[in-house]
Symmetry: C2
Subunit: 664 residues, 2 copies
């Protein structure tokens, strides 16, 4: 039997139905989350972050811009070219929240903003309030950095989410009209072009899946195929730009060419096309380069297109890129991007800790990409990478209270790094706000004849097996604090069906039982595969070993040599100064010393801490020198406590370190 | 009695005589070097490197360019704007060599080249073969990077050296004519301007001291005073440049503005004036920034001007800059410059080992600057820094055989770094070639009433005390391999005279004796001061402790945390793979383990090695991952041998590390 997926389970069957051998995420309506880790975060996102973000979007002018374009305000445009996108991302987050929790007040706020958007849209379908209000003559002339397609992409994503959540077509119609307009402008025999900041590719595939309109899929593929020409389309665009006009951008007067020079490092005599992954045709790419968010979004879009077209050359490129990323260019927390100058990748093994960029959005992009790779391959290595970001770099992006945000995510802080209320470019907060309520998509997948459990998150899930039949499970687990998950079958399709349970790469021993009897299921590419005619009440228990591990980095990562990071399950730990009795820079952690793990319900919303004893380097004054003789002996010991990296900086400013010197 | 210095001791009294309270270097004619470390290097420089460099300058077109400009060749110009400077630096090195060792054949080769230079010089005094032959219309329009003043500076230095060495005025007259021409172009009431690459400042002071012409000193001061204007003179120059013309530069077609954009990172919307230390008036500077060679040469020029003018604000700036450099921005080897992108400084404590730039010329610039600071202050801290470069980064710049060169000097190599025969920009080889034969200037200084021994280099020295009287000493020492130096008085002035003996910052215990009897002389700012009426045959013995030290870096240097460097005396050591039985990346050096030092006459021209036992990390394969669990236990031990850093890469390619993981 083939799987019927898409919007079917949401009750919008008929709009779009697709048959496939791929794994697809369970829709968020089919998943309930009730664990200690995610459930509070999702709830805080709903009750606090969504409204906080809305207020900041009002204060910063993002919503006002739409009102101006709608003819409902006389104010002056504020913000960068992509100010609209943050509104769209807020709508997307609100829509997912509405699926999980009916909230007429929130829905009314969303509808109000959508009304502005609809009114702001031009007759031809174009909408981008910056270019409408400030530089109407510059439409599509500055795609390298104008973000017109980036805005459109986030609109499509928000519109599909809103439609799925509410059944209302108000926003979807705007998106369709805009997509049709863009499709009329760009394409073979029409205008050449490619987005400077990718995201429209994956969004067009999403819109295609929601509407069945194949032109959108073809346009996504067109934009990918345009990349990597010689000369680059952006180089040609640069030559066309008037060198003179100047306009205000993020508070300074600037010209398009200058912006171009700056962002594409054109000062080297030609454009640094790697910045926006425009250095090679996408199917020939093999190095993860340039701006990290652009890269991750593009790879996700490539995976979407390959999923629809079966493009093997594109898949081969994705395998190479994934290998390059995970063996040379990613932080242990799932953060990416070593340098702020390009907000992205530099050279192999260049992974400085304090200067790390690690934009929250890039880690979110990795989640988007690896979820798609998992869907295409059923290979647990992609679930491992998705989980690495989901439990570490991604949740670090927002405070536990839900009101402060990290844009960059360093792995060491001398004490000055703090989350902030907002940013002149607030892409990260609006990205967090849309990912948290859509977590269901990542926890489970549904394959041709099996439900795949990717993350052992307590709650429940329903796989629609077709013909009105279902497999429903309930998970009981304290994951990620415990490695034990009890999965109870609460509704069965009545015929043999698979239950594929992930065996993470980080676990050293995994045991299974069904109804109390040990089982040794076949394990294939990181998933234990159980297949039988399930009975209601059947209970599968999985036990993953959760030893505290000291992780080392490839010695070519210069800053991490001789150091260890602490991991327990999927969680990467850090030392925060507030937990220590001595300056953590003096700590040397003996390799053989015991580290105790203990769940502390009162700390940081409930976390498992690691405690042990560190040796101490002598206290040394460095004010007037850079080098001095090293004392031969360590001076005593001190207790050390590590907390999950994702919870750091929730107790004021202070030093923080993921990598700690190891002693042998 | 005041000291009469300058060219007096060379027999050119009358040309210039200056009275001063400062320390001045002994002229190289007054110093003989016969030690195991320098004497072979100086001799190899004379017998091998000088001719090697001459051949390469012929092959690369540098000398041909002068012949073309002289009307003696029809060839086409080759090389960058500053191609002439390397010829001048070769002449400077050859001249110093001629002082040490008469060589009519070399002198004839020098005179031949000088004849081309004289014939190439234009009637008005201008000479720069690039601008004469390729872009005559562009004279003085592109000073930010045109290197016209840089070429002139190296010419003045070469001309003074040639004059001092041979007494011939052939080259000096060219220099004077050129300096007079430049002085006619630039200055108050004339043209504004400043060199893009400093060196003319210190060279003008040298020419002033050689000729007594005060205009040259004033012009040096003018160029320093021009720096740091708002807007920068370079910003104004940029605006004047024709955006269109393109020309060939190091093999690619390029325009002036593009070069400007590239080198001054103008893409950020305005010039990065820090690149050429043009961000602030020189007296207000307090951070060591930008291109490292430019910085060091400028500080040396500032010290020269301050020495002549007594400019206290300039001295105060130099003290601040020196403090900034030595507490935040210098490598333990005396290398400088963390980044290749600006060939210079980046941020505080950013001192990556493998990616280190550490241009040989920058370390030479540090020697030039600190020698001048020592002369101005008599403060041994400057001798310490001078020595740090002299025994480590500087001699690493050339192979022991004298025919291969390092341009960059990393502190870690994965095995690919090798010295090279030549470079498209060969500033480093020609710099090494002029510094080695002039070492006498750095070993001794002469103060108002004392001879200062800065380095315990075996040989002899004569201080001209005036009125035909002299203090002559002979040093017997195996420095830097031994800390014992025996200084015998072989000629005395007959009246009380000081002998000031350096007590390096790195030594932990120092003892002195005179004629076998222990002495405890007063030690002031790093110098032990002995003053008496010396008798011929008096012998002073100095013993510096030479313990092997493990050095640690300020923990804010991220890559060096938990690591140690090995130092013995002034010599910084490294591990080369060729000396080890196991992969040196696996080594962990216990803090308490014994390191034996032993002189090995057969190794690397004779060096003291350090040997001990390292613990070993397990062998691990990293090909398919970036992170993995760290083994708790080390697996055995291996012998470890360290050799002086300055001798690395003389036995083929291989891994090398200065900083080694330490175990407690």
């Amino acid at each position: 039997m083939k799987l019927v997926v898409g919007l079917v389970v949401l009750g919008f069957a008929g709009v779009f139905a697709q048959e496939s051998n791929r794994l697809l995420p369970l829709p968020i309506t089919a998943v309930r989350i009730s664990d200690k880790f995610w459930a509070p975060r999702v709830e805080t996102n709903r009750t606090r972050t969504l409204e906080t973000v809305r207020q900041r979007l009002i204060e910063a002018g993002n919503i006002e811009n739409l009102k101006i374009a709608a003819g409902k305000s006389q104010a002056k445009y504020r913000g960068p070219f992509w100010a609209d996108s943050d509104v769209y991302k807020w709508i997307e987050g609100a829509a997912y929240s509405l699926v999980l929790h009916r909230d007429p007040d929130l829905e009314a706020k969303v509808d109000e903003v959508i009304a502005y958007i609809a009114a702001a849209q031009q007759r031809d379908g174009y909408i981008n309030t910056y270019f409408q209000l400030v530089q109407p003559e510059a439409r599509w002339t500055f795609e390298a950095f104008g973000h017109e397609m980036y805005n459109a992409g986030h609109m499509f994503e928000g519109a599909v989410a809103h439609y799925e959540a509410t059944g209302k077509r108000t926003f979807l119609e705007v998106a369709i009209k805009n997509a049709d307009y863009i499709d009329g402008v760009f394409g073979p025999g029409k205008r050449e072009g490619q987005p400077g900041h990718q995201v429209i590719e994956l969004a067009l595939v999403k819109l295609y899946r929601a509407t069945g309109e194949k032109r959108y899929l073809k346009l996504a593929q067109f934009f990918l195929d345009e990349r990597g020409q010689k000369p680059s389309l952006f180089e040609k665009e640069y030559e066309r730009l008037d060198p003179n006009p100047r306009f205000e951008f993020l508070g300074r007067m600037i010209g398009y060419r200058t912006l171009y020079d700056e962002l594409f490092h054109r000062s080297t005599g030609k454009i640094n096309t790697e910045y926006s992954q425009d250095h090679l045709p996408v199917r020939q790419q093999d190095k993860v380069v340039g701006h990290a968010v652009r890269a991750m979004y593009m790879y996700a879009g490539m995976a979407d297109v390959a999923a629809e077209t079966g493009d093997q050359a594109m898949m081969a490129a994705l395998y190479r890129l994934y290998g390059d990323l995970t063996t040379k260019r990613i932080y242990v927390t799932g953060a990416m991007g070593a340098s702020g100058s390009n907000e992205g990748f530099t050279t192999d093994f260049d992974l400085p800790n304090e200067r790390a960029y690690g934009e929250t959005c890039a880690s979110i992009g990795l989640i988007l990409w690896t979820q798609r790779m998992l869907g295409l391959t059923g290979d647990g290595q992609y679930a491992d990478a998705m989980e690495q970001s989901l439990y570490n770099a991604f949740p670090a992006g927002v405070s536990l209270a839900g009101d402060l945000f990290f844009y960059t995510n360093p792995l060491y802080s001398s004490g000055k790094t703090q989350r902030r209320q907002w940013f002149s470019v607030p892409c990260c907060p609006t990205n967090v706000v849309r990912i948290l309520p859509s977590l269901g998509k990542y926890i489970y997948s549904q394959g041709q004849d099996a439900l795949w459990v990717n993350l052992y998150v307590q709650g429940s899930a329903t796989a629609d097996v077709g013909n009105g039949k279902k497999l429903t499970i309930e998970q009981q687990s304290d994951y990620p604090w415990s490695g034990v998950a009890r999965i109870k079958i609460t509704d069965t399709p009545g015929s043999p069906y698979g239950l594929n349970l992930r065996v993470p790469g980080w676990t050293q021993r995994t045991t299974f039982s069904v109804n109390g009897k040990p089982e040794q299921p076949a394990i294939d590419k990181g998933y234990a595969k159980l297949r039988r005619q399930w009975k209601t009440g059947d209970t599968v228990e999985v036990t993953l070993s959760m030893d505290v591990q000291r992780i080392q980095a490839n010695p070519r990562v210069a800053e991490d040599r001789g150091k260890v990071a602490l991991r327990r399950g999927p969680v990467i730990y850090c030392l925060e100064q507030v937990d220590q009795q001595q300056d953590l820079d003096r700590f040397v952690l003996p390799m053989s010393s015991k580290l105790e793990s203990r769940f502390d319900a009162t700390l940081l919303g409930g976390v498992t801490t690691l405690t042990g004893t560190a040796k101490l380097r002598p206290e040394i004054t460095w004010s007037d020198r850079l080098y001095q003789a090293a004392p031969a002996e360590l001076t005593g010991t001190a207790p050390v406590r590590a907390v999950p990296y994702c919870t750091w900086n929730n107790r004021g400013a202070g030093k923080m370190a993921v990598w700690v010197d190891a002693a042998h």
